[in-house]
């Protein structure tokens, strides 16, 4: 993105304004695809006009006005469009359009933005489409930026977005925040998409990396937007806290020569205090107001990340607390991977003997059949218990399962000790 010039300014305005513009337009026309079309039209106008006329003092209002004019033009001209509005059950089709439109656009846009989030993450869409649509309509990212972030051709992303919008229209997905029990499930769909985007930025597998941290940042930004819109939802704060606490370690994870630094060896002074403080504040807000209520999975994970964040030295880590949080997480999720994590925490809190029982109980778990960390953790516990021969066999088994060369080398080295 350019630093200067009108084009850079238009892009910047677009990033700031596009989500609420699309959200307000969707409310008007009842269809995200159509809404985005109108919003894009306004963007094109801006690109044409602003270089000559200069960027207006209130660029967001300018874009809104242009988009509104386009919708009204189409409305007058296009009988089908008019019928569609009636079809969608919009009372506005029967009233004076303009007044209604003004009212819609000047209203508090938060509710529309929230509806747009729920639409973008709708369960009728495949996960990848949810991610693409969220980044595009809520993040204001271009198809090209999304494509580069996910290392796929631009046409793939464009197609994904087009299909997603058509699917939403075909399925008659309503522009609304669902009510009742459905709401919780849908909210967790939204959270899942944000966390997916965050992790994509965090764990990038290959390719151009410069956009990757931006994906994590975008996920955090959308998390903050959501937390402003739904301040009473503990899990929204839980997810945001989790992302901020994980991101706080970003700088410390790499040594002076670029080598990765494991948690226990990180220079904790390099942890990002601003993000830690934000994460800890978010964590407090993620606790259910009624202590008898169970904590959500994001809140629990944020709790674990926070226990690391507040330990000034590795030996100050509250492993008992971490083990308890993992236990609660296992109860919520039933995940054997989390149970394995619990075993590691228990070994730190109570020693290898206590942990070995937990790990041994996992040996039959199908989900962990090819999971190299199971034998790796078991090997470490056996080694610490002095059962060297068994440890060696487990290290070798783990080395055979991992697909990461560096890790394999490390495991084989430990097997030889």
């Amino acid at each position: 993105m350019g630093h200067t010039g009108v084009e850079g300014e238009v892009e910047a305005v677009w990033r700031i304004e596009s989500a609420r513009l699309v959200a307000a337009l969707t409310r008007m026309v009842g269809d995200v695809g159509l809404a985005e079309e109108f919003a894009q039209d306004a963007l094109v106008s801006a690109l044409e006009k602003w270089p000559e006329e200069g960027v207006p003092r209130k660029p967001g209002a300018w874009l809104t006005t242009v988009a509104r004019r386009r919708v009204l033009d189409r409305w007058r001209r296009d009988e089908r469009f008019r019928l569609r509005m009636v079809e969608l059950g919009r009372e506005i089709a029967e009233r004076d359009g303009r007044a209604e439109f003004d009212a819609v656009l000047e209203e508090d846009y938060g509710d529309d933005l929230l509806k747009l989030m729920f639409v973008c993450c709708h369960p009728v869409l495949p996960t990848r489409a949810r991610v693409a649509l969220t980044l595009r309509l809520l993040g204001g990212l271009t198809t090209d930026e999304i494509a580069r972030a996910f290392l796929v051709p631009e046409s793939t992303v464009a197609q994904r977005v087009v299909r997603a919008k058509r699917r939403l229209a075909d399925e008659g997905v309503r522009f609304e925040v669902p009510a009742g029990p459905d709401r919780d499930a849908r909210l967790s769909d939204v959270l899942e998409v944000l966390y997916l985007v965050f992790n994509e930025g965090y764990t990038a597998t290959s390719g151009e990396r410069w956009l990757r941290p931006e994906l994590s940042e975008e996920a955090m930004r959308l998390g903050r937007v959501l937390a402003e819109l739904l301040p009473e939802e503990p899990e929204v704060h839980g997810l945001l806290a989790l992302m901020e606490l994980q991101a706080s370690r970003f700088r410390a994870r790499v040594g002076p020569d670029g080598e990765p630094v494991p948690l226990a060896e990180q220079d904790r002074s390099r942890w990002d205090r601003l993000l830690i403080n934000r994460g800890l504040a978010g964590l407090r807000r993620s606790l259910p107001s009624d202590p008898a209520q169970p904590r959500g999975v994001y809140s629990l994970q944020a709790g674990i990340a926070a226990k690391h964040a507040v330990a000034h030295r590795p030996e100050d880590t509250d492993w008992h607390g971490i083990a308890a949080l993992y236990e609660a997480l296992v109860r919520r999720t039933g995940s054997p991977v989390i149970e394995l994590n619990r075993a590691v925490a228990v070994s730190m809190a109570l020693g290898p003997g206590a942990a070995l029982g937990i790990v041994d109980a996992l040996l039959g778990a199908k989900a962990l059949n090819d999971y190299h960390l199971l034998p790796a953790v078991r090997a470490d516990l056996l080694e610490r218990l002095g059962r060297t021969e068994e440890a060696r066999a487990e290290y070798e088994r783990a080395a055979g399962l991992t697909r990461n060369e560096r890790e394999r080398a490390l495991l084989l080295e430990r097997a030889r000790r």
Binding site: A12, G110, S206, V254, L274
Partner: protein, 145 residues
Amino acid sequence: MRYLMSIMSTPETEARDWEPAPEVYEAMGAYNEEMARAGVLLTGEGLTPTAEGAEVIFRDGEATVVDGPFTEAKEFIGGYWVIQVSSHAEAVEWAKRCPHPPKGDPTEMKLQLRRIGEIEDMEGMSEELKEREWNLRAQQENLNG
């Protein structure tokens, strides 16, 4: 990327009895709210006049403490925000939206934008090593929480 956005002090804000007018508080509040709702505001604070501060000047191994107010009142930070944005232009765009003296008011107001250093700014780290760093994150997260 993150930017430190600072609002520079003026002779007015440096005055001992300076207190923003209620409408200034209100406008700033609305501005902060707008940035918070857009998910870009990470933190921000206002600073008291430099009369309440001090400068520590080192010369020839010696530290000299000079109590405020500082000279050159326009050169100092009166308040700051830390914002997270996607581009330099976006940071500038947010800065331009800061409440300011209206047309016809000759009072000058200045904001400064400084990008906060991130991992990409680390010198002497090869692209390949950065790449490896990204790769290892997931695995570490798995077992470390």
